[in-house]
């Protein structure tokens, strides 16, 4: 495809309406924009509002599950109760979730970038085989019980490294695809110049290539952070135990088979949505930039 801007991507106008008068065009734009905003607010804003408003209520009021304005505000109490529930389980869970997510990202970036780099640069007879393996990773659902068995055998069941390596293995294919796609945009001549300058093959990768992969790394960070952080099923299988709780599991603190405390449940939802929100604010603009070349070739 074409050359791609690596850095910040400015949005480009693609729809021209030259045949409209200036004022008409302005009105039209205002109409389109306000329609977009209203529709987005209705479809995406209302559910957020629903969760937030119920997090403010007390248990009785929240059990009605409506969107009425709360008669009194209990957010602080709710937060306090959520944090202290089950001996501060959410704090431990926060530590676990952040560790799992952080370590998985670091490993994914290094392993995924190295693999994507070589797979794009070197095309041999075995390349189709590697492509098959990557696609297989996207397609095949992980086999739960045999995976537990493997973890047992190597002594990593119920350990942090165990769950991290599982998350890495399961997210590798997509990560490699992103990196491999982005590598297309880095000209080979750059490698050659570096080699002529006396760069070794490792220095070439770590000092030259890896920094150039920054935009797609941002995409990888956001996407894998979200997928690992929000993963509920894998920690449940491979990282069980009370002290091993992750943040997703804390949702179940207030939702028993018998009685659900909705206000606390929604407060919990709010609290555990803060880290992804922060990540999103930091990387918002870069997500698209990384993908522009990445997953889309």
């Amino acid at each position: 495809m074409s050359k791609v801007v690596l850095g910040d991507l400015e949005t480009k106008p693609i729809i021209n309406r030259k045949n409209k008068t200036k004022i008409g065009k302005k009105l039209w734009n205002i109409f389109i924009e306000s329609f977009g905003v209203v529709a987005t607010l209705a479809i995406f804003g209302i559910p957020f509002y629903f969760v937030i408003i119920n997090a403010f209520k007390n248990t009785q009021e929240s059990s009605l599950l409506n969107m009425n304005w709360p008669s009194s505000f209990h957010l602080m109490e709710n937060i306090q109760e959520v944090i202290t529930a089950r001996d501060g389980m959410i704090i431990r869970a926060f530590f676990n979730s952040v560790m799992i997510t952080g370590l998985s990202i670091i490993l994914l970036i290094v392993l995924g970038a190295a693999a994507g780099y070589v797979l794009q640069r070197k095309v041999t007879k075995v390349t189709p085989f590697f492509n098959f393996l990557i696609l297989a990773g996207l397609i095949i659902p992980p086999a739960v019980v045999p995976t537990i068995w493997v973890l047992q055998e190597i002594g990593l069941f119920k350990t942090l490294p165990g769950i991290v390596l599982i998350e890495v293995a399961l997210n590798l294919p997509f990560t490699i695809i992103l990196y491999r796609g982005f590598m297309v945009t880095i000209p080979r001549s750059l490698d050659e110049m570096a080699l002529i300058d006396g760069c070794g093959r490792f220095r070439l990768f770590f000092n030259i290539i890896l920094p150039l992969l920054k935009p797609v790394s941002a995409t990888v960070i956001v996407l894998t952070a979200v997928s690992v952080y929000n993963d509920f099923v894998n920690p449940l299988y491979f990282f069980p135990g009370a002290e091993n709780a992750t943040l997703q599991l804390t949702l179940y603190n207030f939702m028993s088979m018998y009685i659900t405390k909705w206000n606390l449940l929604f407060t919990n939802v709010l609290l555990i949505s803060i880290p992804p929100l922060i990540l999103f604010i930091i990387f918002n603009k870069k997500i698209v930039a990384g993908m522009t070349a990445g997953s889309v070739k």
């Binding site: 059990s63 089950r86 560790m99 370590l103 537990i148 068995w149 047992q152 055998e153 190597i154 002594g155 990593l156 069941f157 119920k158 350990t159 942090l160 490294p161 390596l165 069980p240 135990g241 009370a242 179940y252 028993s256 088979m257 018998y258 009685i259 659900t260």
Partner: protein, 439 residues
Amino acid sequence: MFNTQRKKLVPLLLSSALMAGIIAGCNSKEETTSGGGKSSETETVTFLIDNQTQLDGIQGIIDEFEKKNNIKVEIETRPGGSEGDNIIKTRLATGDMTDLAWINSGSSLQAVNPEQNFVDLSNEPFMETIMDDYKAAVSANGKVFGIPGTPTNAGGWLYNKKVYSDLGLSVPKTWDELMANNEKIKQAGKTAVIGTFKDTWTSQVIVLADNYNVLQENPTFAEDFTANKAKIATTPAALRSFEKLEEVFKAGYMNKEFLATGYDAGLKMLADGEGAHYPMITFALANLATTFPDKMQDIGVFAQPSDSADKNGLTVWMPAGIFINKNSEHIDAAKKFLEFYVSQEGVTIYSSKIPPTGPFAIEGVELPDDVYPAVKDMIQYFDAGNNAPALEFLSPVKGPSLEQITTQVGSGISSAKEGAELYDKDVEKQAKQLGLEGW
């Protein structure tokens, strides 16, 4: 196979210093030494309980026990339901079980191979006071493995006494009388039968709570069922249980939105008198008491009636048991705890924290006088000897899909007959997976 020694592939994979640091940080689990005659050190006994169980009573017993002994009891929680059963299985298989385990008696226990995993308590002196019916639900091959962890519950029809007196109804002795009551309640503009199928497990109660009636018609049904000699769809008395559920749906006695209504909403309907009947297991009384303490005097319970007035008895839910892990290093301390748990003192502490929702399965212990009216209703059946355990406490066979199937029957997706046939298939699969004889 799972317990083979761990190969050291780990160092290879995790050579980086970063990872090494984490592993070190992870292995911080304290190893408390046991036995060896050193009495100065506090022994710690770990205890795995599901998160559905109200812990106040158990915690009360633990606190008092810790005061009297140099033993600490540490509770770890797990999810309940079939997910919890599975966690127990996995942890037993991986040699990772706590010293004490809280497991439902009956079929759930049978599924985890008690003989291989738990300490035989048959000859312990404190087992003498445990009722025989209960022992049967926690036994395998003539050995007894557990003590009752809560009072005994029953499955039946919780009802609102106020609604009953307002409408001039009396407790039904036959199924027809019950349906006639339902009709009157419906005419009066109230919900006759509260359905809460959003929590699918609640859809099973009408079928399961009918077991007393099944056994009255067919005393050997449980054994025949286990031995694959009787099927539900072809045993009229057992099929009748599914038909009762079907009749309730067909007559339109349930609240309109029973598929979207959950258990807690159902309790509220019952307490407020918006609904008159709630087919439920009596542990619900504890939940009712927490949320609606002032309504407890209005709530009663009666057994699911049979088709004839002279057969009228209660189907009993055996309490979950506490079991000692065979591989525990603290078996003696654990036994001491169990002994205290079933003593009069233990029962008194328990009842002071959670008002009992039924009689204890322990001989000679007395219930307080101020028990809920519903519990008094229950005790009448016990005193008259008109009770029988639910099927799952008499047979290890229980299909995993019962709650989906009863949802289908209870919402008219399948007929009673189809549902019973589906369940027979489900049961067959489970029995084969358990490796039972005759399947």
